[in-house]
């Protein structure tokens, strides 16, 4: 048995359950492991809070105690997100027609919309998970928005080709404005939805809500816009997701600041 095995054992079981013959044999010969275990064992003996404080906390909680209904299951929120997303896309697709959809080849449609749908589902699951403290995540909530933006960049860059475009900025700004017109309301609706949960990290959840709104805006643009220039799509369409995510994170930061200010004022 090695020190590494002792580490594995200490990590895999709570407390300090190092009692097997192999481990005892190692501990007899290894002073560092022995000392480490002794010190860690001391950690469990740290002082308890004063009895009076526990009583004060109990009194404060009991005096404001009211029944609450537990948060609805995650699938309910996922369904609500899907409804918001699809409604926004449908509303966005109606006034401007489906020129973009018509201009896309079958392969391009599959590549673009599969990526958009997968990204939206993953981001929605992550965002809903953040409503409940201690949720289990398949992907770290901090890394997911970055991963999605990267995946979108790769797919869009691989799916479209560059074309000459005389009014790159003017056309692009029109597209971005159209995209943001749909992404901002979508993000606000997602934000209202997630507010029902416990928002521990407002910036993170804001970025997720903004990103999801941005994906709705990007979907609208891919359906509406017939410009197939890869640079137009990467700058002005993809930019909608980036701006929405950043705006969501900023909104979250503002919420965090206000909460901190309130708590300082109260204390």
């Amino acid at each position: 048995m090695t020190c590494r095995d002792i580490d594995d054992l200490m990590s895999s079981a709570p407390g300090n359950p190092v009692h097997t013959p192999d481990t005892v044999e190692h501990l007899v010969s290894c002073e560092k492991c022995r000392t480490l275990i002794s010190v860690l064992h001391e950690g469990g003996k740290l002082a308890a809070p004063p009895e009076g404080q526990i009583k004060r906390i109990q009194a404060r909680i009991v005096e404001t105690l009211k029944p609450v209904r537990p948060l609805a299951p995650s699938r309910f929120f996922l369904f609500a997100c899907a409804i918001i997303f699809l409604c926004i896309v449908a509303i966005g697709a109606t006034p401007f027609g489906m020129n973009g959809w018509g201009a896309l080849s079958t392969m391009q449609r599959i590549a673009v919309f599969t990526t958009l749908a997968a990204s939206a589902v993953l981001l929605a699951i992550s965002m809903i998970g953040q409503m409940v403290p201690g949720s289990k995540y398949a992907f770290a909530p901090t890394a997911l928005p970055i991963g999605i933006l990267t995946a979108l960049t790769i797919v869009l860059a691989a799916t479209f080709r560059p074309h000459a475009e005389p009014d790159f900025v003017a056309d692009g700004l029109t597209c971005m404005r159209n995209g943001l017109t749909y992404s901002i309301p979508a993000a606000l609706l997602f934000w209202l939805l997630v507010r029902r949960g416990a928002i521990l990290y407002p910036k993170l959840i804001g970025a997720a809500a903004g990103g999801l709104g941005g994906l709705a805006g990007l979907s609208v643009l891919e359906i509406n816009c017939s410009n197939m220039n890869v640079f137009h799509i990467l700058v002005w369409h993809w930019g909608v997701v980036l701006i929405s995510s950043a705006a969501g994170a900023l909104l979250g930061a503002a919420v965090e600041f206000i909460e901190r200010w309130r708590s300082q004022k109260l204390s």
């Binding site: 020190c3 590494r4 580490d7 200490m10 990590s11 895999s12 079981a13 709570p14 407390g15 300090n16 560092k32 492991c33 000392t35 480490l36 002794s38 010190v39 860690l40 001391e42 950690g43 469990g44 740290l46 002082a47 308890a48 809070p49 004063p50 404080q53 526990i54 004060r56 906390i57 109990q58 404060r60 909680i61 009991v62 404001t64 105690l65 009211k66 029944p67 609450v68 209904r69 537990p70 948060l71 299951p73 409503m131 409940v132 403290p133 201690g134 949720s135 289990k136 995540y137 770290a140 909530p141 901090t142 949960g197 416990a198 521990l200 990290y201 901190r260």
Partner: protein, 197 residues
Amino acid sequence: MQSGEAACTSAGPDIEQLMSRYQQADAGAAAALVATLSPQLHRFFAGQMGSVVEAEDMLQDAWLRIHRARHTYRPGEPLLPWVYAIARRVRVDNYRKRQRITSRERAVEVLPEPAANKAEETRNLPAFEDLVASLPENQREVLTMLKVNELSLEEVARATSSSVGAVKQKAHRAYQRLRSLLDQSQFAQLMPKGVAK
């Protein structure tokens, strides 16, 4: 590896049931939950901050937040990751608050050392708080949850929004660093710095 449900019994067999009754405004269950979880939450804060006074403040803050967010606990789910995810946020906020205060009080050149535990002083072993204070924040947090609060890897992963693999890696790094610190000469060098926080 231990399952989340099995490990949840570390704080008592009925904490999930107590939580469900607390959601239904059962005052007895709320009081029992506070009494059951407060000592380990206090150890979580004290183990990382090295200050009992701060730990007491954070304990109060943690319960206020738990109370406000109690509707987000879903009956049947393990309770400890839920509680520790909230406690972790309280600790982060307190850490930032302390950073802000410290930055405003630069006039004090030497930071006061954490209150020494008399019982520890008489021993050859360094105090747990002093030793873990030298670890990076994320390793300290994982180590405290695993060894002080006796959470399972799965529970720590959920409370810290990371994977079991990432928790294991942080714990291993922490053990390695602690071993090197326990080498008396290195620890002796570390101690006069007032145990950097």
